[in-house]
Amino acid sequence: MNARRTLLLAAGGLVLAIGATFLLDPFRNYQLALVAAYLCATAGLTVLVGLSGQLSLGHAALMAAGGYGYALTVNALTGAGVDGVGRFLGGIVGAVVVSGVVGLLLGLAGARLHGPYLAGLTLTLVVAVPAVAASVPALQGDRGVRTAFDGVPAPLRSLIALEQWQAWVALAVAAVAVTGLVLLRDGRAGLRMRAVRDDEVAAALAGIAPARVKVLAFVASAVTAGLGGSVLVFVTQSVSPGAFPLGLSLLLLVAVVVGGLGSLLGAALGAVLVVLLPWLVGTVTDALPLPDAVVQRLDGTLASLVFGVLLIALVAGAPGGLAGALTAARARRRARRAAGGAGGRRRTRPSRGGAAAAPPTGDPSAPARPATPTPTPSTPREPVRTPTEG
């Protein structure tokens, strides 16, 4: 996919998504904004894990870095008398800088470490977030930092509600983040990342600097996670360590694996799951006739239980995740349609085959083959072995 087409698709998708916000009520728009925020983080994580093969358990910490960067910059700009769009963009720049620097440091460590060592370092980072927030006075410990309120801009005030405006902003930021990642993935850098992931030594022999590629992947992933954090702060107008616990980090990883590692579509599915599943489970437990104490215990934990079981089942059974399963299903369906067409032609002759019969032995069509994403529809028409047939 070339760059211009990607940009056009992204713009089209953004316009569609913004149009869709008119169909949703305020609470759904709020959920949509959360999905967009988590999408930034999951998209960054899926590129990092799936493309460059580095596992981070610390993306909640990177989101926190972005969130604090945004909040502190916004507060500084408020103090300087800036507001409106300028203040928001300034905050975004702050988020990008802070999360980018943290990501650069982690990436430099990651370039020297492999597998479990990097995972452990990032895990420690996310456990240390509350401690860091408590030890730096500007971050105000557990209370966190509050930011100024960004309302709907005056020209739009009569048209849309606050939640819808927040969803627009969140979608726009997510679109920028995801488009950037798509361009990175489809470009030269993405190719290098895959080369390094598959065989570091071979990549180095081919003239790629593995360390540089890994650092680049980490910084890109950190910046998008930071953007996600800043969107969360924009929506909730506050940032505190409690918003980015270890559980969130693990949840992001679960979302990415459930969606399908390395797939941005999977990252989007995962982000939707992260927001909707707890809400769905909560609705179900509220509807059931359970004592309050039980409902309170199930709140949050039942959803994560479902996530955990889903994760283990998927890693054991379908390593491609939801996106992989979708692709495989589509390929199967296409193959079946091709096979069905060929079978139909043959069945005009009186034959013993029923509708569900296996394709005739001479049929070169797909079910026996591994499902490929793009089976050419014309294959059944070209029996390769015509010369020897009959």
């Binding site: 060592y117 679960v254 955990g308 079981v309």
Partner: protein, 292 residues
């Protein structure tokens, strides 16, 4: 000065527990090349069982036995039921499965026992003894040190002096050749997991009275510290686990005593980052062959 001595004492006590927990990580890493990120959550399950048994029987010792047995059983179930799906080709799949296990175990514990911090009383007094007018170690700390060191010694004897230990080492080091020589590699792997999970559960049980209390996330910080210990010592080196444990225990204790408990995780992070950047495979690991 008195304060420093006291902090060093508690640091050593905490360090031996960390060493025991880290040894569990080392055992599993050596046997299966998986860092068991679920060690903390699994250990907490064992502690919950132990505390429940203590509550039912009134004896702390039965609770200790129950913790060790429950931890071992869970290790068996996890190795046979979950971690065998880890693919040998991708080192990430083991970590991801373990994370899934963490999420499952912690949410199950949350559903069954709730999220409250439940205080756990130590079996002995935790008031420090005076040695020459200086408060040093509490009887409980002393007990912890003795149990942890004793267990570390016993495990070392098991690995070095017994036939089972030899088979365990052989299966971890050279699975193919061991299989040809008649070692049941899969069984040895399971034995390694059971031993490791029991040790981790015991370490968590010993550590819990000195922490905030028991809740499903009680071992998160313990796991992070133990991981740091294992890295400082080298994931391949059981001896390194003890030295690393003492280092991390003393550092966190001194930082907690002089700068406040909130800073302890930052100190652990700093130590981990420093060691990883200077000696990525641990201070006491043998040099690995060059890869590129």
């Amino acid at each position: 000065m008195d304060r420093l001595v006291f902090l060093l004492g508690t640091g050593v006590a905490r360090g031996t527990v960390l060493a025991l927990f880290a040894l569990s990580l080392v055992l599993i890493w050596r046997a299966t090349r998986i860092v068991n990120f679920a060690a903390g959550a699994m250990a907490v399950v064992g502690v919950y069982v132990g505390v429940a048994v203590t509550g039912a029987t009134g004896s702390w010792w039965w609770g200790l036995v129950a913790t060790v047995v429950a931890g071992g059983l869970l290790g068996f179930v996890v190795e046979r039921g979950v971690l065998r799906f880890a693919s040998a080709r991708s080192p990430l799949s083991g970590v991801i499965l373990a994370i899934g296990l963490v999420v499952v175990l912690q949410s199950l514990l949350g559903i069954v026992f709730g999220q409250e911090h439940e205080p756990v009383q130590p079996p002995f007094s935790d008031r420090p003894l005076q040695v020459g007018g200086v408060p040093l170690l509490s009887p409980y700390d002393l007990f912890v040190v003795v149990v942890a060191l004793g267990l570390l010694g016993a495990l070392r004897l098991l690995f070095v002096k017994t036939s089972l230990g030899l088979q365990l080492r052989a299966a971890a080091f050279e699975p193919e050749v061991s299989r040809l020589l008649g070692v049941r590699v899969a069984r040895m792997r399971t034995v390694g997991w059971v031993l490791a999970a029991s040790a981790a559960s015991l370490a968590a049980l010993l550590a819990v009275p000195n922490e905030l209390g028991l809740n499903p996330h009680a071992a998160d910080m313990l796991f992070v510290s133990a991981f740091t210990v294992a890295v400082v010592g080298g994931l391949d080196s059981p001896g390194g686990a003890l030295l690393g444990g003492l280092t991390v225990g003393v550092v966190t204790s001194v930082v907690t005593g002089y700068l406040g408990a909130t800073l302890a995780p930052v100190a652990v992070l700093g130590l981990l980052a420093a060691v990883l950047l200077l000696r990525p495979s641990g201070l006491f690991a043998q040099a690995e062959a060059r890869r590129a």
